[in-house]
Amino acid sequence: MTPSDAPFDDHADQSAQANQAADERLSAQLAGLRPVEPGPGLRSRIAAELPLPGADSFETLARRRRVPVGERLAWAAGGAVAASLVFLLGGVVPSGREQAPVAAVTAVDSVPAAAARPSQVRDEALSWSDEGIRFVDEFTPARVLRRKVIERHVAGDGTAEVRVPREDVIFLPVALR
């Protein structure tokens, strides 16, 4: 820098500093303005789309409970085979209620004790779906879940299995702030 440049540079520096100070004052003033808060409905609308705090997402639940297709097919085939065996071994194919022979009543008496034991029932969850938050009545919001289940009824002696599809609708209470 030559001596003749000094006054010009000093002036430029002062001007830049003054601008910077003015910018800082203005930005501080602007920062004092509070953005308008969104309407109360916005939170509820988002709540209807997102999992509740502290709860597993239902996608996660569904993933965790998902049974591979091959395994499901194997279970279905097993059930069908078991049902066929029951009919084949029993040697009786029902042909209608009206024609049921009276002798069948006596056949019940001859069922082995093991088969007469109550069957075990196990639920096998196939899928979960989250239908979001709905109002059960005017003031009661609830998250609605739908669960598809296969009930597996296994006879006491383990010789037969019946698979019954079922759908559950579950209401979970929620609190909307």
């Binding site: 910018d23 930005s27 602007l30 308008v36 916005l42 997102l50 705090p53 597993d56």
Partner: protein
Amino acid sequence: MAKSDPDWQTWYDAHAARLVLYARQWLPERADAEDAMQAGFVKFWRSRSRPEAADLPLLFTAVRTAALDLAKARRRRTGREQRAADTAPTAWWDGDTLAERERADVVARAIAALPLEQREAIVLRIWGGLTFAEVARTLDENINTVAARYRAALTKLRDLLPEACHDAE
């Protein structure tokens, strides 16, 4: 999910108002801006189950994308006349007194007169609370470009706003 994980309500409480303000740069109507905020917020939260503070620019980006999409759809629907009407912003900031609300209105009109890229820089920096690096990440721009836009915006605002707005306490 562990109990210590941040939940979306915490993020909502901290950022909802500033996200809606940001969306209003494309969607002056509050209801439209809230729709865009909702779409962006939900998309962000679904894509990141455990967001961290460093992810904040991505949240602004998600809301920006949603606002641009919605603005495009609105433009198709409403046409030029409505767009002209939209250039006058309705309340962007709260004020406890009439004087504060009037001042907020003057500032809103001045900011609405800025070019969009300068407006974005100033809204993200001042009310979004982002650093220049975060603003740059939100906009996918160079940090120097963003800083230059911010300074240009302040310079223009000094011209557009009456002195009373610079010095009001």
